[in-house]
Amino acid sequence: MTAPLDDPRRHDSGGGPPVPGPAEEEYRPSPLQREREAYLRRQTVRSVLIAAASTAVVGVALAAAVLGSPGWERVRATFFDPDVALDALPEVAAGLWLNLRLLVFCALGALALGLLVAVLRTLRGPVFFPLRALATGYTYGFRGAPLIIVLYLMTFGVPGLRLEGTPSVLVLGGIALVVTYGAYIAEVFRAGIESVHPGQIAAARSLGLTYRQAMRHVVLPQAVRRVSPPLLNDMVALQKDVGLISLAGPIDAIRAAQIATAETYNFTPYIVAGVLFILMAVPLVAVTDRITVRAARRQSADGAR
């Protein structure tokens, strides 16, 4: 070893190295610790009981208010008619299959578009000015534009041009969703990219990686991990908004419910569609929650160091 090294920023940890004691015998919690644990257990039981009781009170009060209301019978008949629900279920479920396919297509499209736009916005240098400007203009424009207007423009405006090879209304509606959500997702990705420390790029470039390689192997993997909770949240929102496609005509779950409602003068099919939408969202929401918790845990582990 070398001459003693001196660090100007030396900070004595105080206690010095821990003294290695004799091998620890069978560990048993002290009475103090046992008392502490017992107290905490009692506290937990108490809190759970209080929470359960108050939930029950609120629930009963709400149920009593709704069920006891003068109009409940009529509402039940128009919104919660089991026979109508059963009749409408096959059509609405078939429509939901369309929503599901549309969701997958739009989610992949919006993620790809968002990632591309986000990366374009990080490019530096005058050569890339036009691309950067285009990407920036796009995110500004489409984050502000109401989805419903974009949807109408695409599904009613574009076919009106009577161009050769105009895709179906379904595809056009999908494109409207992709470009609108792509703008939000681009901003989420960009925030993720910018949160990666510049030292990471410097380190990657110093190893001889090109800008593209540094982005692909070093920056983007870290960025995507960090923003996956908000991204999944956007996916849940998209999941609901694919229902707006019904405004343009394709028979999705909501459109099917509308048709069934028109036939029976009963709103139960809408409730069926709503429940199916919630069921479709449950897995996505569950995954989002899990990933958010994991990300939060990882961040706090980072902060502790």
Partner: protein, 260 residues
């Protein structure tokens, strides 16, 4: 000491690294002014100087992470600051280690090390990993190859970062305050590694605030002040008998703390 003695024709050969009149400005304010420095092959040059004197900036300029404002930098006789030169190709011949390690947190240690061999040099994974494991064994990190960086101590991370820079077999290694984020006990690990690299004949340019470190590895110490090299020479000369009053004043502060 395999390559520590320069070959007989050493005097005729151009220096491995030659900086000539290098100037660097940030938004109009100069950080380096007309800086000239040669580093011979197998030489270890240590940069010292006050905080903000431009040591890190100089290293980043050599690695082309920052464009210079004037002057020229040559590596192996090639003008690397020529705009026609591909900077990625130049960086492949220069290794750089950063003060804060900058390991990639989403990759295991071995993946950190093999990233450049696989992606830049197109080597097969198995071969790259074998070399990485050999180098890791050499720095005492065999058992950490499959760990993620955040599970390593600071000294272990810094050694892994040095291995990552070495795996490209660079011509020149730039080390920026590689020990300043470490506890005193961990500094020794990194220092031992740098000394064994020196024994292997690695050409190194490093910045440090630790005069003990400078003394033990340097062939030459350069004192950087106001963006220029104010004084340079063997460590005994610059650290013990500095000529320039500013150097003396700078070292005075270390002497007062008993850290010279």
């Amino acid at each position: 000491m395999s390559g520590a003695n320069p070959p007989a024709d050493g005097a005729d050969r151009p220096p491995l690294l030659a900086l000539d009149g290098v100037r660097k400005e940030f938004g109009g304010s100069p950080v380096l002014r007309s800086l000239t420095l040669d580093v011979a092959e197998h030489e270890v040059v240590v940069l010292i100087g006050a905080s903000g004197s431009g040591k890190s900036t100089l290293l980043r300029c050599i690695n082309l992470l920052e464009p210079i404002s004037d002057g020229s930098i040559r590596l192996d006789g090639e003008h690397i600051t020529d705009p026609r030169v591909d900077p990625d190709r130049v960086r492949r011949r220069i290794g750089m280690v950063f003060q804060s390690y900058n390991l990639f947190p989403h990759m295991t240690v071995v993946d950190n090390i093999t990233l450049a061999p696989r992606r830049v040099h197109g080597r097969p994974r198995a071969e790259a990993e074998e070399q990485a494991r050999e180098l890791l064994a050499r720095v005492g990190l065999s058992d950490k190859a499959s760990e993620y960086p955040d599970r390593l101590s600071g000294g272990q991370q810094q050694r892994a970062a040095i291995v990552r820079a070495l795996v490209n077999t660079p011509r020149l290694l730039l080390l920026d305050e590689v020990t300043s984020a470490l506890d005193p006990e961990l500094v020794g690990e990194v220092l031992t590694l740098v000394q064994s690299l020196r024994a292997d004949g690695m050409t190194m340019l490093l910045a440090t605030h630790e005069m003990g470190f400078a003394r033990s590895v340097a062939d030459r110490v350069c004192f950087l002040d106001g963006g220029r090299i104010l004084e340079q020479g063997p460590p005994e000369q610059v650290l013990d008998a500095p000529e320039h009053p500013r150097t003396r004043r700078f070292l005075q502060r270390f002497a007062e703390g008993g850290r010279l």
